[in-house]
């Protein structure tokens, strides 16, 4: 129940998934739910393949928001620890851009909190992705967030 062990950050380096999940483990928890968002390969209208997503963030605000989301989740579920990591910069196809991991006593709570955190992050957090195509052209992804 101690938020001082939470790890919430934007980072420009690759996500270390094993380490992040190790960090969320806790002797008092029996369940860990993890969500990873990865760059999905696609082809654009011009027939170019997506090679990467290039993430930009308003970092100070996004980290503040992510800490607030973690607080909100702790009010709704009995959470042991939370890890929320989001990449900035280039994330190649197949690589993870975001990791949410939550440990709780039981599994329903872990799934609920993890889903809540990724949904809220996608809706609110001040992060944007640009699609980088095989001809080196790039386009800002259509934003689907529902910020006020």
């Amino acid at each position: 129940m101690d938020r001082k062990n939470d790890i919430i950050a934007l980072q420009s380096t690759a996500l270390d998934i094993g380490a992040a999940i190790g960090d969320v483990g806790d002797h008092g928890s029996g369940a860990i739910a993890v969500f990873l968002g990865t760059t999905r390969g696609e082809v654009n209208a011009q027939g170019r393949e997506l090679v990467a997503l290039d993430y930009e963030a308003y970092a100070e605000m996004a980290e503040t928001q992510m800490r607030q989301m973690a607080e909100d989740a702790r009010r709704r579920w009995p959470i042991s620890r939370i890890v929320m990591l989001h990449r900035t910069g280039l994330v190649d196809v197949g690589q993870p851009s975001v990791l949410i991991a939550v440990s709780t006593p039981h599994r329903a709570e872990a799934f609920g909190a993890c889903r809540f955190l990724i949904d809220d992050l996608k809706k609110q957090a001040t992060i944007w992705k640009k699609e980088v195509w095989s001809d080196r052209s790039s386009t800002w992804a259509e934003g689907r967030g529902r910020q006020p």
């Binding site: 100070e60 989001h86 990724i118 992050l121 944007w128 800002w140 934003g143």
Partner: protein, 81 residues
Amino acid sequence: MKIRLRMFAVLRDRSGISQTEIELADGATVATAMEEVGRRFLGIVELLPRTAAAVNLCYAKPATILRDGDELALIPPVSGG
């Protein structure tokens, strides 16, 4: 009064500005600040109706009154995750 203006993603790309200071009349709101931004950076006028604002790291309504030294950020629809 002076506020710090920050722009991100497509707004930064089209305006060529990541951050700057702008001078506003005392009592200016987020809405009046955005009108001023539209006058200065014509390339982003068409994007402003879908642009949200944050003041000092929190989303803010158009009617929010700005104060000297505030950080106003213009936030295109987010697409993280």
